[in-house]
Amino acid sequence: MAGKIKVATTSLAGCFGCHMSFLDIDERILALAEIAEFDRSPLTDIKHCSDQVDIGLVEGGLCNAENVHTLREFRESCKILVAVGACAINGGLPAMRNHIPLQECLEESYLDAVGVENPQIPNDVELPLLLNKVHPIHEVVKVDYFLPGCPPSADVFWKFLTDLASGAEPSLPYELVHYD
């Protein structure tokens, strides 16, 4: 299937809402499948990108070390990296913890909260460590495009991907630009 654009997606500190919204393109997914092929994505359950992916869509911001690794690997693999949704663009809801020091967050969650039994800070090496603050992805890697919205509507995904596939510079008309 030469000529098809390869699209990958990933979700960092997000809620999967952007992925859900993407799926809202409904039957247009058939038309999309004509021009695009899905690589790494929670939708395909492929865990790592193949060599070079044309477009990588990132949902969610960075709240822990694993997010950073995932994002960097993703950036490395994708020719075009796209920040999708409020969390990827400005940290979104997870970033609302940013004005609370991490120490207080952890103490409140694992030590002091009502109902906590056997209070301890989780320390398994399998668990990613939290960053002091949640960061949007453009603070850690270079980002090529941004699709705002919480989530961006299905039309945003559709317009953006079909623009790119047709070789046009993607642009969103007024009615598709939303921060909420």
């Binding site: 950036r75 991490l102 120490q103 952890l106 800070i121 320390n123 090496v125 460590l129 960053l131 960061h135």
Partner: protein, 599 residues
Amino acid sequence: MPSTPSDMKTIADIVARHDADPTRLVQILRDVQSTFRHIPAAVMDRLAAQLSIDRAQVQAVTEFYTFFSTEPRGRFDILISDSITDHMLGSREIAAYLCECLGVTPGQTRADGQVSVDFTSCTGMCEQGPAGLVNGYALTKLTRDRVERIVELVNDDTPVSQWPREFFAVKDNIHRADLVLGTKLQPGSALRWMFQRGLDSTLDEIAKSGLRGRGGAGFGTAMKWKFCREATGSAERFVVCNADEGEPGTFKDRVLLQSYAHQVFEGMTVCGAVIGARRGYLYLRGEYLYLHEPLNAVLAERRRAGLLGSNIIGRPDFEFDIEIRIGAGAYICGEESALIESMEGKRGVPRNRPPYPVTNGYLDQPTVVNNVETFAAAALIALKGGAWFSAAGTEKSKGTKILSIAGDCARPGIYEYPFGTTMAQILADCGGTGAMGLQIGGPSGIFIGAQEFERVLGFEDLPTGGSFMIFDQRRDVLEIVRNFTHFFAHESCGFCTPCRVGTSLLKNQLDKICAGHGGKADLAELKHISKLVRATSHCGLGQTAANPILSTLERFPEQYEQRLKAISFEPGFDLDGALEVARRMSGRDDAHAHLAQEA
């Protein structure tokens, strides 16, 4: 926390001393700060009630000026000047040593409340640094020996008034005097001449002299006076002398006020007569507190001599007096409309212009605001005539300019030159021949390289308010620029978006590049922000805040490029450091508990 009846009495006394005049709020807060070492919330309520102003205004003013604090500072409050010229004289090492000996962290008051140490913007002692302030009074030539003595004095609780006088010695260091510094003015002589000649002709002489404002902007002095004089519908007119000499590297006004005060006050009085003002103010920067008493003594002397007050030099129709107002640590108040706001007891935020102060200045009345040096020159012009002054200088820049020379040269100090003098000449005179670059006009001016030393002093080429900093080959251009850029971020008043946010962004972006985390795109970004801040800021501070970056990027691009990494992108914050809290709390230090800065 002051709450006792005697504390309340102290506050009432302070307010009474200032006639419960709300325009004197900054002065009142200075007294409160010096009495209680901070401005407690309870005092804010009290002041608001006694001055019949909003509590919010008291709080807003308190939180604007850096010499005020809402948390107690030490009984000995020491501030170290953070000007680049102080850095070059070892101020950072001296400060570290001081903090170590005293057991304090910069910015925090020692647990016993005895002492606090912090940094402050240039204190105007650039040629006799490292400099600082203790309880507001200027300290010069700080050495390790002096630091050790200071530590003893602080720990022994010796009042500042009993500290060795030499710690506070401020020298003039005049190395070259010309028209303004070299002409003796007998107090009152300019006033007598003015009345003999007539006010109109005196204004004509000022016009003929070609005198332009010495603060840096260079507006025609006679024109300004004329506009103010002709402003209609006003109840009163005012003369304001801008002695808020805050541009880092400038200290010539300090010398004029220390040794030529009569001349400055005489110039203000001439202006008062010409424009028809009865009141004049000298707005003295807080860092020059040590000049307050001597200046008041000169004012008293002039009153006794019939040169101020009513019936000046026996003229019943001429009444004029001068009052000193003191700032409290805000560079922005050097901007004339911000200065006026400060004089009215408000935050020092520049006004929208037009209208200009000549029609709507202090208390909304026509006001002339001129620099110290401008008044000093005006006094002599009133005495000697315009031609005497305009004979020196160039076609567009008449007369002379007083420079404050500091940095890498053998003889730093005060030099007065006719406009048109080359940089090379100046460098030869002060022994700065090894210079790699010059910062002309302070951080808000420009940085020039050695290939430009044939350029000349003057509004048409290199204008300056007086700051002249010399840097030799040992100096790192980016460190200089970083110092200036941090200065602007610290001093931005916060009124307009581009300056408030932009100066912080510039600071962060430059730090990122200097720390070695920047790529090509970061440099482009730095330039982009610089241009925006320059083009869209509300006042001169913001419009010039990016000058250090832009003028060095133009001349020393390689200095920036050397710091860049061949990467597409790297974070501007410490990624591994951002895991520190989580590592500590989970007790982990395995490979997964770390992140590399670079991908």
